[in-house]
Structures are given as C-alpha cells and as structure tokens.
Subunit: 140 residues, 2 copies
C-alpha cells in the first residue's frame, strides 16, 4: 500500500476558538469551512478540525483528551521556537513546555491548542523542508 | 508561518507490535528505527511511533487513549476500503466501524491500530492523490 496519510482530523469543541489558533496564531488559510469542520491544505495532506461530537459519532466510540500523540511544526532557526510558542500562546494556545534543547540536539517546546492537542514547535536543522513545505527525515 | 506539519508522533506501548501493523499490515518501510522509536517517511512529512512513556516525559504530562483524533489513509477504489480494513485486522488492528458509505459520499471504515489510534480507511474520489502520495483537498 502507498506509504501515504491523507487526512489528520482533530476533534474540537468550538470552531471559532480553534480557527483563531490555526488561522490567526499559525496564520494558516482554510481551504474549506462550514459550521462543523474546517479543512487546511497542508504539505501533501489535509488537516481537518471537526466537532469532536461528530468525530465520535462517525468513529462510533467516545474519545479522550489529551490523546497520546503530538504534531510537530518545524521552524527555520533556533530562536523561532520561542517566538512561535509565544505567538500561539496569544491565540488560545497553552505552553506545555518552554523552549529548550532536547538530548538529541536542536531546540523545541510544546504548546497545546485550545482543544488540548499538543504541538511541538521544533528546530531540527538536519531535516530539510522544501519551499512547498515537504519535510524529509535525515539522520542527525 | 509556513502551512506545514513536520511530524506526527503516536504514543505506543510495544514497538514490535506496532511495527507489525505498520510494516506488515500497511506494508510501509521505516526510514529509521531504534529501541524507542520508529520513523516512517510519509507524503511530505514524517510519521513517528514512539514509546508513550517517552512521549509523556517529553511533553511533561500524562496522555489518554483513545485520543480525540483520527488519521486517514485514502485508497483508489471503493472496494479497497474493506480489503485494507480486513488486511489491517490481520496484523493487530481492530475494526471500529465496518466499511460503509458516509452521507457526504465515497466509502469508509475505521480500524484502531494496536495502541488504539484510529485510522479511517477511505475512498474519496474527489481528492486527487499524486504518484508521490501527495493528497489535495477538492470540493466533493
């Protein structure tokens, strides 16, 4: 099967509150929105923020937060990590871990979005990012 | 900020059990692995499966399952949905919802990976997938 993931869907409680974090905080532009869901075209896949009640109904089970996962947004320089964390915290994000250097190198911190989904903001100079935003694994 | 997500990290309990689902079930190839983490190069970003205890320590908070999110793998034909669900259920997956047609069209079902993370297997003929696996939103 193709080594491909098409969509990441995050369960959210309030569309306007979530949109503020993603559109005003990250500065991203939706590709589609209605009263239940917002889609963002990302680097090779689609990010969806969907009412958690609808996601639970679709999946036919209740869901818990914070879930055992994290999303990462890599940035171009070490000092961008703190700057992005600070900015997101002004748009409904909550800092989980301030920027510091992990044992494997680089720089990172964590911020929870308004629905408690974790974003790692990371500077990882080993992994190239193309102008289109495509990210490649590379050994450190 | 670039509309870009670099890494999705899933918290897992057992690397071998998880690898069986992703490598043998989906048929994907790791780009890196050690005793704590497996990385897969995906379509424009990296998927990591990391010991949940390590992810919790890094994020400095406990995490719950099943989390309020889903991942989707889109397939080329309607009948591939059931075939992929069946295959994944033979490699440690647990069917959450059998293949059926959602109100907005197409075909989909849900399967939990061995760590209870939900994958939607979906046929969505409106959204193009490039040969490299890059997925584009398009109106239905």
């Amino acid at each position: 099967m193709q080594q491909q993931l098409s969509v990441i869907t995050l369960g959210i409680a309030d569309l306007a509150r979530s949109r503020r974090f993603y559109c005003d905080g990250f500065g991203w532009t939706p590709v589609f929105q209605n009263e239940d869901i917002v889609f963002y075209q990302m680097n090779g896949f689609v990010l969806g923020t969907w009412l958690a009640s609808a996601l639970e109904a679709d999946m036919q089970r209740p869901l818990a937060r914070p879930g055992a996962f994290s999303l990462a947004h890599n940035v171009a320089t070490a000092k961008d990590v703190k700057a992005v964390l600070d900015r997101l915290s002004q748009f409904g994000g909550r800092i989980l871990r301030a920027a510091d250097a992990p044992p494997h190198g680089g720089m990172r911190g964590y911020v929870a979005d308004p629905d408690d989904h974790a974003w790692e903001i990371a500077w990882n100079p080993a992994w190239p990012i193309s102008p289109e935003g495509y990210v490649r694994f590379a050994p450190a």
